[in-house]
Symmetry: C2
Subunit: 146 residues, 2 copies
């Protein structure tokens, strides 16, 4: 077996590529389940934050989800028009936009409960592997946990 400096440029030697491919493949697997509750994947993770916290501002939301206002602003406007959340300027500091879940948004949680269960069926990983994957990914993200 001989090695070349070009080996580093082979697709099979990249760590980012399977990460990128895997992320998109799994999001595709979510699609049929998310279609049933009329959410895109990005809308779904926004709802996850709101189901836990009820209220959050755009900056915090962006930090949680690693998304910026260029992505979030139009997304949140669309979700507001779907009556999943409200957008209100903070009275204390008008630079901040406060996102709050609506009753409709809360209700959706009951239907969404089936999504992670259905997705779990799709995974080919052993529980230990999933845990290890989880740990490594959060290490890469530079957080100790979620």
């Amino acid at each position: 077996m001989t090695f070349s400096k070009y080996d580093l440029l082979k697709l099979e030697n990249q760590i980012c590529f399977p990460l990128y491919a895997c992320s998109r493949e799994i999001i595709k697997r979510y699609k049929p389940f998310l279609d049933e509750i009329d959410l895109t994947y990005t809308q779904y993770i926004v709802m996850m934050v709101l189901w836990e916290r009820r209220t959050v501002n755009v900056k915090e939301l962006g930090e949680y989800l690693y998304l910026d206002s260029g992505t979030l602003t139009p997304l949140l406007k669309k979700m507001e028009s779907k009556d999943l959340l409200t957008r209100t300027r903070s009275a204390v500091d008008e630079r901040n936009l406060i996102i709050e879940i609506t009753e409709q948004g809360e209700k959706l949680k009951e239907q969404a409960i089936n999504v992670p269960m259905q997705m779990a069926q799709c995974s080919a990983l052993e529980p230990g592997e999933a845990a290890e994957l989880y740990r490594i990914l959060y290490k890469m993200l530079g957080r100790s946990e979620g």
Copy 2:
């Protein structure tokens, strides 16, 4: 500690979310290095295939990269206009579009060689962790290797 059926809906209990976030964060880290050789990340992985194989058709390329013609067609047209590759219908079967690397494209490999080296500096993972991550991701993708 009490558990609820809603725990499954918490962002911190998802495996897809850190995958999705991590993928985008790493691609962002590539950007300054890829800017130097005037490639986007998607163009970079197309070039990786061409640096290894010189020639490939769109269907095969899509299988390697998990991308469809809706993504690849405009991408490849742009790369053709940058003189990185040529697009030619197969004489044997005109449904197939043959992508071939140009001399320019070959030359770019010399500059690109620095990209994986520079990226390696950015990684916070131990070699063993990177290997394990790699193994698990390809298992999820349903391939034995890259």
